[in-house]
Amino acid sequence: MKHFVQDLWRKFTGNKRALFFGYIFLFVALAVLPFLLSNTVGLTWVRILDFALIYAMLALGLNIVVGFAGLLDLGYIAFYAVGAYTWALLASPQFDLHLPFWAILPIGAGMAALFGVLLGAPTLRLRGDYLAIVTLGFGEIIRIFLNNLDHPINVTNGPIGINKIDPISIGGADLTRTHELLGVSFSGAHTYYYVLLTLLFMTVVICVRLEKSRIGRAWLAIREDELAAQAMGINTRNVKLLAFALGAMFGGIAGGLFASLQGFVSPESFGLLESIMVLCMVVLGGMGHVYGVLLGAILLTVLPEILRSTASPIQSTLFGDVYIDPEALRMLLFGLALILVMLIRPTGLWPSPKRRTSVDPDIAKD
């Protein structure tokens, strides 16, 4: 957001100090947003916003793998699944374990990172579309296992999924309940919004700092030309594994938060389509650009919801009947958007400034 706000303020005032007020404004706007929504369009939209924040975190994690390091991962949702199931198994009646969230979050992140390395290690030599297919296969394998590990020993409860997952609770206060604080009543969706926003903010800071760090520069070098990067003395094996592990870690954290917010997980939420959805957030937003990816994630979570709530009424007023159900329409537009963005604006809606001056596509191709 920084550059955007900065530009905006320079245009309006030409005063650099005004940037400070820009941040204050952004902060206040983000702080009151859930109350604005719940009082105008209803509490459901605060929940949608919560999911948008989780997806944003997920997309930022994938951005590390795909955007920074240039490793096309089509099975990224597997790490989200690992995080979600780790949380679900450690904090639900399934095994009657109820660990506190500050214990599960690192465990989930660690598990996901471990799986990231497990996927990354054998695929180090693969590039481009081969890697895409292998990661896709990996994602499917994880999903098939989640679906079938209900016998002979019941671990994941199979297709039914795991229910009654504990929410985050801080100091004994359950975050899904409504709480009164300073005369303001915070519902579960509101409290989660602030928790998620804080975590997302930390993710953004980490991503931006990572990109500018030595490791981040190594990732970009590998993305642009792996051989050249190796020649420059970058240990491509370790750096790529690190990208997989870090990306997976954010996916795992997002997955855990998803499980606790939803209170329920099942293999259905972790299909290939979800992987593609997250990839689209990254690609449509602007691969490798942290703020672009944020924009992509928010757009792709919120727009379909708007469509879902308006598609049927519009169709019935225009044609007198609902011909295309909103879910199918959503996917249709989604597929179309993917194609059109690639044809018209292949760098995404808000590409990173550096990406624009990237290598000539003719050279980058081979």
Binding site: F145, L227, C280, L332, P346, D362, A364, K365, D366
Partner: protein, 309 residues
């Protein structure tokens, strides 16, 4: 009945369908270096069109000879799929031929989602049963039972594969295709219309895919709008297993994958002491894929090195 012989037989039937679809992947990959993700959906569309034509014909001309019904359905499915493949290549792949490799892959995913949902809107979410056109007969072969449909599948596949190999290796068109896959630029300089050859390649793959769709619909007796995706992935695995870009490899890979899946699913329960069951069948394809790509990325018959930056 001999279970092992039966599994081998089922594997061969499944494998010949994989091989037909894998040929489409491998031809396109050989020429463009592109994974045509939408290929599986073309298979699905082929099955759907054929089913629609068959049901129309059955209700309009119930007296028609079953062979003619199948033939008409097959021809219309093939034509529709070819037209579809032509459009897909023209609209989604050709404009991106010089773009970074990620771009066509993503449009391919977009096409795949689009086709699946269009099919869902037209034909509904439910599984559709395929009417039985021929009376099914069962024969005994080496202690395994084989149905007339399965014999039909293996025969048709064998004929088509031979036909394709003959076209690619012994005709002028085939020579142009091979030249284009060696180098588009040089082929163009030799007076080959590269764009036309690429379109033809896509259409030939789509024709095979349509037939594969019909065969698999006949084998399982159901079609569904999502049937293409997994089939497409497995066929791609088959193409990689055999060595992508290599036609003979695609056939070999398809048959091998069919055998691995069928035998693996049949015996995995015994091997793991009942821990893993036959519903892990879909895992085999992916494990095979990962193992092949990690240890021998060129596949069994591939010569091309996959080192590309």
């Amino acid at each position: 009945m001999d279970i092992f012989a039966q599994q081998i037989l089922n594997g061969l039937v499944l494998g010949s369908v994989y091989a037909l679809v894998a040929l489409g992947y491998t031809m396109v990959y050989g020429i463009l270096g592109l994974i045509n993700f939408a290929h599986g959906e073309v298979v699905m569309i082929g099955a759907m069109i054929a089913l629609a034509v068959v049901s129309i014909l059955l209700s309009a001309f119930p007296e028609m000879h079953p062979l003619l019904t199948i033939l008409l359905a097959g021809v219309s499915a093939i034509l529709v799929c070819m037209a579809l493949a032509f459009l897909i290549e023209r609209l989604a792949y050709r404009p991106l031929r010089n773009a970074p490799r990620l771009a066509p892959l993503i449009t391919a995913i977009g096409i795949s989602i689009l086709l699946q949902n269009i099919a869902m809107i037209i034909w509904g979410r439910k599984y559709k049963t395929v009417p039985q056109i021929f009376p099914t007969e069962t024969f005994e072969l080496f202690g395994a039972s084989i149905t007339s449909v399965q014999i039909f599948i293996i025969t048709i596949s064998a004929v088509l594969m031979t036909g394709l190999l003959v076209i690619v290796h012994f005709t002028k068109l085939g020579r142009a295709m091979r030249a284009t896959s060696e180098s588009q630029r040089v082929a163009g300089l030799m007076g080959i219309n590269v764009n036309k050859i690429i379109s033809v390649t896509f259409m030939m793959g789509a024709g095979l895919a349509a037939v594969a769709g019909i065969l698999i619909a006949g084998n399982y007796s159901v079609v569904h709008y999502s049937m293409g995706f997994m089939l497409g992935l497995k066929a791609f695995t088959a193409a990689v297993l055999g060595g992508i870009g290599n036609l003979g490899g695609a056939v070999l890979g398809g048959l091998l994958l069919g055998l691995i899946e069928s035998i693996g699913a049949g015996y995995i329960g015994d091997l793991t002491g009942g821990f893993l069951g036959s519903h892990y069948q879909d895992v085999f394809a992916f494990v095979v894929l990962i193992v092949v790509l990690v240890f021998r990325p060129t596949g069994i018959m591939g010569e091309r090195v996959s080192e590309r930056a």
